[in-house]
Amino acid sequence: MGCSSSLPDRSSGRLVGPNGENGGASDAKNLRVKLVLLGDSGVGKSCIVLRFVRGQFDPTSKVTVGASFLSQTIALQDSTTVKFEIWDTAGQERYAALAPLYYRGAAVAVIVYDITSPDTFNKAQYWVKELQKHGTPDIVLALVGNKADLHEKREVSVQDGMDYAEKNGMFFIETSAKTADNINQLFEEIAKRLPRPAPPSSSQNP
């Protein structure tokens, strides 16, 4: 099970069109990865994505409805490229039951909390448990403490985040979508941790 991006359509019977998620096959040099962001409303998931994809930060709140889809490709040092197909989900409670729709088949889940709000840290732990139970096997999990620029209002210590992540085999980082601190690092670190597809000689067909 080396090819993470071939997982989606195996686990769900969705319609896949010519330009669908399986349109450009991953190979060893060019990875396509489905990534999902989860976390309480207002922790900054959309801001993280927009900072990563468009290099922008808009402080006016735009509550996500359902889920937004964006993609961004990065090049790694070893000249491989990784195309992230990102599902930025809505943190509002009414959409919680829909989360499987978006995390199903995801190779990466980024679980975000706000370092100034312990409630959102609790919610993050809920998502970790749910993904451990129902997520793709071998999913790469990242725990992100966002709004690190608000250190004077910090209520979740770095240590708490780090400890929890370690216990659950997750990658941990604190970010600020506002200052762009650690945003690119987040995605680069994820890319490095991705399982690589097997060389072309072995199975390429899903």
């Binding site: 996500t64 409805v65 359902g66």
Partner: protein, 600 residues
């Protein structure tokens, strides 16, 4: 099932060689004489000539002759106690018999004891200044700031009491769900008061519809475990306020579906506010549209004017997509439809279009990137979610693809890419931009003479302007303000198409305040034309200090027109006929014809 408009009218006519009463009424019209209608149908031009006056209502002041208090057509009792007027409505007239728990005198009795409890809550919403006009009028989105205002207020604040219009949603256990002004939770006490009134009357087997308290009307709508309340001193008709509550309820269903009722079955004290988190902007923009968007009372949608071929091109690609398993494909520019297509047998109600477009436009996140979200179309199926793919092509133009499959995102994304390619290639998107700049029909451009029927008016609808040396002398009479004969504005609603067209606002209806006043006047006119039990109003001519209002309803269309208050009646009537002719002449461009989902 879902569409209220049936295209069967012509079928009925065909089976009956004699003109039906509707036909005769349709042919009745206004004339220069004030007498009753002659009643003789004029077959040759019955749909585009107003000729004889059927009714004239003249009012000298703003005092409306309309005191709509109850759901007409149902058994009603009223009691006036201490200025509070109760309207009690039994759900079935015959239930007023022996087995009914209510007896005569019931309303007054209950009314009086409830009135005292209502008094503290309702009576004290005292004199109101026109402060709402400042924040709630303008048609331009720039002037209106979305989102809830005055969150710091509660029912003890003077400012809160002075708001002209309040809307509440609460549960039948009295838990606040939504409030237009102020924070829901701080208003818990007030909600409990409203709830007490509702359950008091409900327990007697009745439903509160309306309470009057001085200048205020309090309108109630009960939807299972959910109560909706409007408190208003705007003098809007009861029927209009009730329809607004229906739309607010529909908006809530669009977000949650009716299955939210089950939460209350499990736990009557269920707190629904978290389920509506982040949707304040959706409700406040809907409520704002109650003061500018005619779709909210006409129950019709409006189209962006486009050359026939352009709209056809858009419709063809949407149809293509619908054939590939998309339930509805809707292309819109702000609140105006460019084209829409439904899969076989699926029809879209104008109210669903209104609520869906309001939801999408008010939710800023849709503008950021393509989205996939569950939504419910309350008129289509209030129980089930559909999935909406939403994508903005430019700042105003957006595509909505609806499906029943939660797995269809990538398919819909492909559909969008195909649609976008076609729209770009056939320059539909640039035509849309141009139409936005050009605007729609202008009263100043009302053609003088009948135009060739097949003519196309591209590039712009207003090519045929009134010559300055108008032989009729309209211009001389009215100093060049507005259109001929003092015509200031009109709305034309095609009943068969479920669509309306509204002329652009121009001098002297140029300020937001004047536009809102005219809007309210139309709203009142609409309500009076559609009142049940008052007999079929087919025409109305009203003159007050603000306008001459002329309304003409046939089985095919409704025309609402506003004129200078000094307008000559005969000329006004003549002008209305010309407006109808004009609309017919350009219907290819202002309406979505043909592949309408309503005609399946």
């Amino acid at each position: 099932m879902t569409s209220e408009t049936s295209p069967s009218v012509s079928g009925d006519e065909a089976s009956d060689p004699k003109p039906s009463p509707e036909d005769q009424l349709a042919s009745l019209a206004l004339s220069e004489t004030d007498g009753p209608a002659s009643g003789s149908p004029r077959e040759n031009n019955r749909h585009n000539e107003i000729e004889s006056a059927e009714e004239e209502v003249q009012t000298n002041s703003a005092a409306p002759g309309l005191a709509v208090v109850e759901n007409s057509g149902e058994a009603v009792r009223r009691g006036r106690i201490g200025g509070v007027l109760w309207a009690r409505t039994n759900s079935e007239p015959e239930a007023d018999g022996p087995e009914s728990p209510s007896s005569s005198g019931y309303a007054g009795e209950r009314g009086s004891s409830s009135a005292s409890s209502a008094g503290s809550g309702i009576y004290e919403i005292a004199e109101v200044r026109d402060d709402e006009v400042v924040d709630g009028v303008s048609d331009s989105q720039a002037a209106w700031v979305p989102g809830k205002r005055h969150v710091d207020e509660d029912d003890a604040s003077i400012s809160w009491r002075k708001r002209k219009k309040h809307y509440f949603i609460l549960s039948n256990s009295g838990k606040p769900i939504y409030s237009r002004h102020g924070d829901e939770h701080k208003l818990a006490g007030f909600s409990a008061t409203l709830q007490a009134i509702i359950s008091f009357v409900e327990n007697g087997g009745d439903r509160v519809k309306l309470v009057r308290a001085g200048k205020h009307q309090v309108v109630f709508l009960v939807k299972g475990p959910i109560y909706l309340v409007c408190i208003s001193c705007t003098e809007e008709p009861y029927e209009s306020l009730r329809m607004q509550l229906e739309l607010i309820y529909g908006q809530m269903l669009l977000i949650l579906t009716k299955s939210v009722n089950r939460c209350f079955e499990k736990n009557p004290k269920f707190d629904m506010t978290p389920l509506l988190g982040g949707t304040d902007v959706v409700f406040s923009s809907l409520i704002h549209s109650f003061s500018w968007n005619p779709a909210t009372f006409l129950h019709a949608y409006t189209c962006l004017p486009l050359a026939y071929a352009t709209r056809q091109a858009a419709g063809a690609i949407l149809q293509d997509v619908a054939d590939s398993g998309v339930l509805f494909a809707i292309l819109m520019c702000k609140h105006k439809v460019i084209s829409l297509v439904g899969a076989q047998k699926a029809s879209l109600h104008p109210d669903d279009i209104l609520l869906l477009s309001n939801f999408v436009m008010a939710s800023e996140s849709f503008r950021t990137s393509e989205s996939f979200s569950p939504i419910c179309l309350p008129r289509y199926n209030p129980m089930a979610f559909l999935y909406a793919y939403v994508h903005y092509f430019d700042i105003d133009t957006y595509l909505m693809l609806l499906t029943t499959s939660s797995e269809a995102f990538y398919h819909l994304k492909d559909c969008r890419i195909r649609i976008e390619m076609v729209l770009l290639k056939s320059s539909v998107l640039s035509e849309i931009q141009r139409s936005m700049l050009d605007g729609g029909m202008r009263v100043e451009e009302l053609p003088l003479d009948p135009l060739p029927r097949s003519g196309s008016f591209s590039p712009h609808l207003g090519q045929h302007t009134l010559p300055t040396d108008s032989p009729d002398g309209f211009r001389e009479l009215y100093g060049g303000i507005g259109g001929p004969a003092g015509l200031w504005h009109f709305i034309y609603r095609s009943i068969f198409l479920d669509q309306y067209v509204s002329s652009e606002f121009s001098a002297p209806i140029s300020s937001p305040r004047q536009q809102k006043r005219l809007y309210r006047a139309y709203q009142k006119l609409y309500a009076s034309m559609h009142e049940r039990g008052i007999g079929p109003h087919k025409t109305q001519f009203r003159r007050d200090e603000n306008y001459v209002l002329l309304c003409w309803v046939t089985q095919d269309f409704e025309l609402y027109a506003a004129f200078d208050p000094l307008a000559d009646k005969a000329l006004a009537i003549k002008t209305c006929n010309r407006v109808c002719q004009w609309v017919k002449d350009v219907e290819n461009e202002i309406f979505l014809l043909g592949a309408s989902p309503f005609s399946w």
